[in-house]
Amino acid sequence: MKTLYARPKLLKEAHFHYCPGCGHGIINRLLMEVIEELDLQGDAICVAPAGCGMLLYNYFEIDVVESAHGRGAAVATGIKRVRPQNLVFSYQGDGDLAAIGTAEGFHAANRGENITVIFVNNGVYGMTGGQMAPTTLLDQVTTTTPTGRDAGLAGHPVRICEVFAVLDGTSYLERVAVNKPAAVVKAKKAIKKAFQRQVDGAGFSLVEILSPCPVNWKMGTLEACRWVDEAMVRQFPLGVFKEVPC
């Protein structure tokens, strides 16, 4: 028997606390696979958010620092400016980056900080029970949009990749998803590219990952995966939004 796939060594033994069918688990795994494959375990420093992703230090066998909600890009900036030789990345949800942390994210991008932001977009605030996120779709029902998101009251969903592409400081921006095997493969490639580019000194990179949240979407796990394709991708098209040659 030849082993074709086993748990990455860089994932600790702890069981994930994520809900059944949650995209965070897939993304956590991809990050550790990539860091192991690029042999960056000794260099990687992760900035963990407030949100469902806040317990990364329980799962990642790399250095991790917790950040206050939304401040991840600023904390990552501080670390990278002290240790430019390390791989520094922040892991941020849609509240963390697109709501409270927009200024910090925007300006780290604008300064062209040589960091990577892993932006997990599941269109809802998971940890706190399913409230509207800046990336919640129009007409989407959440606990704070009980009759569906109304643009007049709550604005439109925010497209982070598109907005950040306008900034001269950004170097590589790609939107991917983890709702089916082919998408997961592409997502891993994007993460690997972003990290390799950081190692090569290419500047600010962001990988936006559309991720299913079955519990707060009030859907089954497969239904949630399908909804990413049927609804989210319409608003958040997949693909590369910027790739400065390096």
Partner: protein, 355 residues
């Protein structure tokens, strides 16, 4: 040199390698000085997009093992409170400078002492204190600033330097030759990448309340140690004093002028100038209260430190107060008149000139 420039220079000479700041009057000169000085000193300067971003950059830089600093004034310090709470909980060193101005709200841009409460009572959420150092002159910055970095590294906790707009702008001769660079502390806890060692994490979230309580008591033991070992204050003409003025920072400079006049009149007034506002010189005041009955608190505020004086005295003696909030700076003669009136009311007998 101006206080702002001297503070920045002292920081660089103390080993500060990373400065992050956002412009706000009356401390813009600190940010601007660092912009010019840091690159040549092999350090890093970033003008951040906000005070919130700056304190979080400090957190990141400190987590990675660097001596790092930010500076601001009242409104910006309010924005930093969350970050300070996280620095304390993460047990990370940092130096945060507040050059106070009139408040509350947008306030005025003139120097004042409006943020004593904010600085000494934690300021942010949670059970904590930060060391608060109050310089009273530009030359004193050559002692206060290295002390701030030293205490921050020694105790793995943020230290606030509580200056004010007057100190920031005033020009005095300053000699940096006497500045003693604090020693480097071993920082095995710093995040440098898990090479040749197990992965490390720096965080403050503890869901388990019993563990969170333990963490709190651990921090409290640290604070008790600081209270025991790091109180600093200066006394002036207290040996025969019958009334002791309590003032800090620029307030103490004004009070010294007032005391000079009072002494010329034969009024036996002295002063204690706390240098650490936290830990406050509780013991020193309590000892003074054994022989002195009247304490006159003077602040450029509506009255904040006066509460700590009352706490320290525990009902012994009488506490008088005079304050001017908003950025008004009274002249020594004004303070002299007020203290004189209180002094005479407190000591109606004996040969004293009445005014």
């Amino acid at each position: 040199m101006s206080g702002n420039a001297a503070l920045a220079e002292a920081a660089v000479l103390s080993g500060c390698t990373h400065y992050f700041g956002y412009p706000i009057t009356p401390q813009n000169e600190i940010t601007e000085y660092m912009a010019r000085r840091m690159p040549g000193a092999g350090g890093v300067f970033i003008q951040s997009e906000s005070e919130i971003a700056a304190v979080n950059m400090v957190l990141g830089a400190s987590a990675a093992g660097a001596r790092s600093m930010t500076s601001s004034s009242g409104p910006g310090m309010s924005l930093k409170q969350e970050g300070i709470s996280y620095l304390v909980a993460d047990e990370l060193p940092a130096v945060i400078v507040n050059m106070m101005r009139g408040g509350p709200g947008m306030g005025s841009i003139a120097g004042a002492q409006s943020d004593y409460f904010q600085a000494t009572r934690g300021g942010g959420h949670g059970d904590y204190r930060t060391v608060v150092l109050a310089p009273a002159s530009v030359p004193e910055l050559t002692e206060i600033v290295p002390l701030a970095f030293d205490l921050a590294d020694k105790y793995r906790s943020p230290v606030i330097i509580l200056g004010d707009g007057i100190l920031g702008q005033m020009m005095e001769p300053v000699d940096f030759d006497g500045l003693v660079r604090p020693p480097d502390y071993e920082k095995s806890w710093a995040l440098t990448g898990a090479r040749g060692r197990p992965a490390q994490a720096i965080y403050s979230l503890i869901f388990d309340v019993k563990l969170q309580e333990e963490k709190n008591w651990k921090l409290q033991r640290k604070f008790r140690l600081i209270e025991q070992d790091e109180v600093r204050y200066e006394t002036h003409l207290v040996d025969d004093a019958e009334m002791i003025v309590v003032a800090y920072g620029i307030g103490a400079r004004i009070a010294k002028g007032a005391i000079k006049r009072l002494r010329e009149e034969g009024h036996k007034v002295g002063m204690i100038r706390p240098i650490t506002l936290w830990p406050f010189p509780m013991k020193a005041l309590r000892e003074m209260a054994q022989t002195v009955r009247d304490f006159f608190v003077f602040e450029l505020s509506a009255g904040q430190m006066v509460e700590d004086v009352r706490l320290a005295l525990e009902g012994r003696g009488r506490v008088h107060f005079y304050g001017r909030p908003g950025g008004v700076v009274p002249m020594p003669v004004e303070l002299y008149r007020i203290i004189s009136r209180h002094y005479c009311q407190a000591h109606p007998d004996g040969d004293r000139k009445q005014r």
